[in-house]
Amino acid sequence: MALFEIFDPKAPPHPIGIDLGTTNSLVAYVKNERPVAVADCDLETLVPSVVAYLPNGDVVVGRRAVRLAAEHPRDTIVSAKRFMGRGSDDPETRRLGPYEFAEPAAGEANTVRFKVAGSRVVTPVEVSAEILRALKAQAEDALRNVGGAVVTVPAYFDDAQRQATKDAARLAGLEVLRLLNEPTAAALAYGLEKRTNGTFAVYDLGGGTFDVTILLLDDGVFQVRSTGGDSQLGGDDMDRALARELLAALGFDEQRQTPQLIRLVLDEARRAKHALTTLDEVEAEVPGQKRVKITRARFEELIRPLLERTGLACRRALKDAGHKPADIDGVILVGGATRVPAVRRYVAELFGKEPLADIDPDQVVALGAAVQADLLAGQGRTDDVLLLDVIPLSLGIEVGGGVVDKVLPRNSTTPCVARATYTTQEDKQTGFEIHVVQGEREMVADNRSLARFTLKGIPPMPAGMARLEVALHVDADGLLSVHAKELTTAIEQTVTVKPSYGLDDATVEKMLLDALDHGEEDLAVRRLAEGRVDASRIVAAARKGLQADGDLLEAGERARIEAACDALDEASRGDEPSRIRARIDALDDATKAFAARRMNRAIARAIEGKSLDRVEKSVEHAKGVEEAHAR
């Protein structure tokens, strides 16, 4: 094994939290019950989300890539996150920037493609995977063996953007425990720190995305009430506004703007923005050009429209949550762009109180993600803390006339499902086209298209006779899956969804195989390690169950379960992954009925617990509920 290979399969796997940001990314983990960010050898925790593709084939990530940007503006991708899950014709590709885009070839997925280093073409998913790989390596350096990862996404990301993020993590060789919404992650970091209950607003203005989330913190449950935002609004847009001002002041019209110039001006705009946090006036200096004076007042005037867009989203989120600004107990600031004094003033005015910013707004999301990763890996205070999140945008299905039938409203708590039934329009119609969209508008054209597919093999029937049930499932990651069936014949359809934007499964699989840098042997070692981890978790859970709810066991059941646990333990000590898997399945079988009884008890207790003041009534209710759930 090469010396630089840091990964050590024998070390215990350590869960990590990753904030994959527009401008900067970072990785954190829980050490002695506190989340800490991982620093590199220069003691820096922030990794700039910048990837440079060099003519010799080298790929450079982070601060070194930043230094290459001026020389290789087209080959250095900055802010790839803004292009995640976007089509090649997305308006984002036409905004001020130095990139060259490639059109997808016939039959290729409709996704943004950057043309870099001469002839190379990369997608935002691949660019993001490079950043994640660098973070993983940084974590392995500190932890030796990295376990599962919680990767954060803006709450307002739609399904395509979430899917793209998960694909990037898979490409980087990470096991994704959960995609977590950034504001919720921040609230987790704050909530655990402060140990208070109440209603909080998280105002998250990052490099490229804006989120606002209203959530209720009640005895360790972080319940998101509503979320809103704009997945293309952030500090980058402040830079662009300032850059346009600079270009005009320097007398460059559009024809004279080269990629090098745009990169230099954008960088200088960002420096000026940072300087204006403490100064009232700065002189911007683009190399080779005259100096341009910018006052803080002018900068604030330029960004005012951006702030107003965030205000609109905040007011809507409050309304969706059924709250007035006065109901909010605290406002949490997240994201580097909230360092701009005008942003802080705006937020204070909007909510009528001074916002909290005592955890570093650049780190807070990764710290929260690390806590969640720790909880999910079963190492933290699992019984006290739970995150209940929502879908940010309504999901709908196209019906006649280009109109959307909204089947799952925004702010529905995940995991969730919605079903809608449709019928055929023509006699003997055997196929039915389904188009899934996301957004709040009435007309399909005004929403974001997620996927299209055709339900085939409907038995020929007169028009209006077939009953097609479409179910949209959203899991705890906020990711969508679609199921369809014809009800009169109960023909279940396996639906292959072709995403409207982004990569299909086959493409990701292929990229994954291409990117695989571990040999077969390494894979087997990994599989064995994973099997052992799963086995020890499942055995622990089963034994805990026996202890907690032993009175629910039927005759002989305890002995059967204990035997299955012992058998799995024994297999775990061996080195055959397939044997471990088989015994995991056997334990699963042995505990099935017992687990169902335990779940019904947990449900009854949950209902009972909320109303101890009305004990008799609640017991009666609990019984009714237990019956309702047992059905």
Binding site: G378, P415, E442, H473, D588, D589, A595, A602, I607, A622
Partner: protein, 176 residues
């Protein structure tokens, strides 16, 4: 599925949402997939199904439109595609006019007019909700004609919801 039973309350249009939200939270504490990551596959699956059911029930109960539809369904009134109740012609006329006024305000970029229409639609929605609450409170005594009337009210509420959604979208558009 009876969403009211899932959440341990009796079916009614008037519900104590704060109390039900608390129940939903406690049920989630017991059932959320995060709780079962270490569990066996079948346990994970059944917890997921339950969690989805509980979330679906909460989604129905907290939304006046879906709550009313569910109450009607429990009383045997068919809802959904092909069963839309007929709305009164006056109501349809009113909605057409509202739509027209909204699209004019959008053309004229008249944000004040859009806000005014939103306030009106919200006030009307609340009136309809009050009528539904009174109608459902009559309970078992409700005749099929009464129920059909309530279904019509639900239809109105849905119209206002769509109008308000469109208003929100136009507000966004005017602010951008």
């Amino acid at each position: 599925m009876d969403p009211f039973a899932t959440l341990g309350i009796s079916p009614s249009f008037d519900v104590d949402l704060a109390a039900v939200e608390k129940t939903h939270r406690e049920l989630s504490r017991a059932l959320h997939p995060d709780r079962y990551l270490g569990a066996s596959a079948s346990e994970r699956r059944s917890a997921l199904l339950k969690a989805v059911e509980v979330n679906e029930a909460w989604g129905v109960v907290r939304d006046p439109i879906r709550r009313a539809e569910s109450l009607l369904a429990l009383r045997g009134v068919a809802m959904g595609e092909g069963h839309e109740p007929k709305s009164a012609p006056e109501f349809l006329m009113e909605m057409l006019e509202q739509r027209e006024a909204l699209s004019e305000a959008r053309q004229a970029r008249d944000a004040a007019a859009v806000h005014r229409m939103a306030a009106q639609a919200e006030a009307r929605s609340r009136e309809v909700e009050r009528a539904l609450s009174e109608g459902f409170a009559r309970g078992e005594a409700a005749s099929p004609a009464d129920l059909a009337g309530l279904a019509g009210k639900v239809g109105e509420l849905r119209f206002y919801r769509r109008l308000l959604d469109e208003v929100s979208a136009i507000e966004d558009e005017l602010a951008a």
